[in-house]
């Protein structure tokens, strides 16, 4: 999978992250480091805190405890809570991608596919219409969308196409880190396989780092290098993906792994 070198410094560091809503603990004591080119899967069932964690590390939610730091392109590790508005905008518009489970959340459903991809480029200062359209068109090809459909709005697309378009929109600015929330969640199995294969190739070709939240262990196995298993807001087991899935130690992880129905 993706290239890594050992002397790399971490891209994102989470330290003792926690989020509470009154007495309710959504997420507690989560610490990890993510390296460039590394794909981390966060698995667990509904309510385990994995989506809360994703929102915390992507600065969409303020933590009740702990901190998240990110290495900006100048090489300096910065606390996300202390970033200025311009730096935050840079992260959200350029250096990060966010693939939502529901493509309608990550796309503008009423404007054309080309505009959906081009918009991210315009937000970072591209202004040459022809170049924007060419780049959008080549990204549609990369995610296997017929370029004849470039002027159609995603609301006319199938679920699988919408999800691929969302990926193109996110990757066009060449982000270094992509957050994915159940990226194959609402799709048919055959469509899932195609999407997974596509994501796997893009992640390794572009050397992307990614944090993928999923309840599907097959998705974790196919996409990720490392996995964190969450339960009740805590990380209960972590390690190399194939190690955790083939040799699970914790009772809950053993339950998860043994609950997969054989095809």
């Amino acid at each position: 999978m993706a290239e890594q070198t050992l002397d790399d410094k971490p891209l994102l560091v989470a330290e003792n992250l926690g989020k509470t809503y009154g007495k309710l603990v959504a997420c507690r004591d989560v610490s990890f480091a993510l390296y460039p080119g590394e794909v981390l899967a966060v698995v667990g069932e509904s309510g385990s805190g994995k989506s809360t964690l994703l929102q915390l590390v992507s600065a969409q939610l303020a933590p009740s405890a702990g901190s998240v730091s990110y290495r900006m392109r100048d090489g300096v590790l910065r606390d996300l809570a202390a970033l200025g508005e311009a730096e935050r905008r840079f992260l959200f518009r350029t250096d990060w991608g966010f693939v939502h489970q529901d493509p309608a959340q990550g796309l503008r459903m009423a404007v054309s596919a080309g505009a959906n991809v081009g918009e991210r480029l315009m937000a970072v200062g591209w202004n040459h219409y022809g170049r924007i359209r060419d780049t959008a068109s080549s990204w549609l090809e990369r995610v296997e969308i017929d370029t004849d459909r470039i002027d159609d709005a995603p609301r006319t697309y199938s679920g699988g196409m919408r999800q691929r378009l969302q990926i193109a929109r996110n990757l066009v600015t060449e982000p270094r880190l992509v957050f994915m929330d159940e990226p194959t969640g609402g799709l048919d199995v055959s469509v899932q396989a195609r999407l997974l294969d596509l994501m796997r190739n893009l992640v390794s070709e572009l050397g992307l780092a990614a944090i993928v939240v999923t309840h599907d262990l097959a998705v974790a196995r196919l996409l990720s290098h490392r996995v964190m298993v969450m339960k009740g807001g805590r990380v209960i087991e972590t390690g190399l993906t194939d190690q955790v899935l083939d040799d699970p130690r914790e009772p809950y992880t053993q339950l998860l792994v043994s609950s997969i129905l054989p095809a």
Partner: protein
């Protein structure tokens, strides 16, 4: 002596939490080493822990005790305690693993499945594909199948694709789990040849083979796993 693999007192126990916490000792006191250019065959009956030992050397199963020293990029890494990133690095540039079954990714063409380990290590796609093609040809996989994903192939064909994928890289350590299990005589002979070539290139190998004839042909040394199992 320069051991590529040096295992001391490695042990593994499964704790089955869903079966009331039953402890299942697999191996204990595993100690042996493998040098460059040598093929060590693990012997012992089914269930003695041969595959588990291979998986521990690959970092797929975690080690509960002892040490698994692997010579990696000029230093020695203990895989029993290595960080996930180190294990991945060892797998990318030091240890290859030919499992019994191919875990195929849907939609990926056979030629690309075989070429992938080279591409990951920075070899150009065209060159990697050419090498993949020559290995597939040697293993008698007809060219008309190369563009298809191997998931539709027969067991023997899948195993040969898996072997091609395992043998394509120049990794200094190779782990072979029943590489000839579902092959006919002609293809078994090809695998024996490939193993011989790797020996000449100085590759250290650990293999599991049930076929006595093949074992006789490839083994430089036999390590009986029964003693590790009975000590548990």
């Amino acid at each position: 002596m320069n051991a590529m693999i040096d295992i001391t007192n490695a042990e593994k126990t499964f704790t089955m939490h869903l079966q009331g916490g039953v402890e299942l000792p697999v191996v204990r006191g595993v100690s042996f080493h493998v040098v460059s250019g040598e093929c060590v065959v693990l012997s012992g009956p089914s269930g003695a822990g041969k595959s588990s030992i291979l998986k521990m050397i690959f970092g797929n199963y975690r080690c509960d005790g002892g040490r698994i020293g692997i010579r990696h990029q000029g230093t020695v890494i203990d895989l029993a305690t290595a960080e996930p990133r180190q294990v991945l690095s060892v797998r990318r540039s030091t240890i290859g693993y030919v499992s019994q079954f191919l875990r195929a990714v849907p939609r990926v063409a056979t030629i690309d499945v075989v070429a992938e380990p080279l591409i990951v290590n920075g070899i150009a796609r065209a060159e990697a594909r050419e090498q993949a093609g020559s290995l597939l040809r040697r293993l008698n996989i007809p060219e008309r199948l190369w563009a298809l994903p191997p998931s539709t192939f027969s067991g023997g064909e899948q195993q040969r694709v898996n072997i091609a994928r395992g043998f394509i890289s120049d990794l200094p350590i190779l782990l072979l789990d029943e590489p000839t299990a579902s092959l006919d005589t002609a293809n078994r002979a090809v695998v024996v040849e490939l193993i011989d070539q790797k020996k000449h290139q100085g590759v250290a190998m650990v293999a599991i083979v049930h076929d006595d004839e093949i074992r006789h042909l490839i083994a430089d040394r036999i390590v009986d796993v029964t003693s590790f199992a009975s000590a548990a």
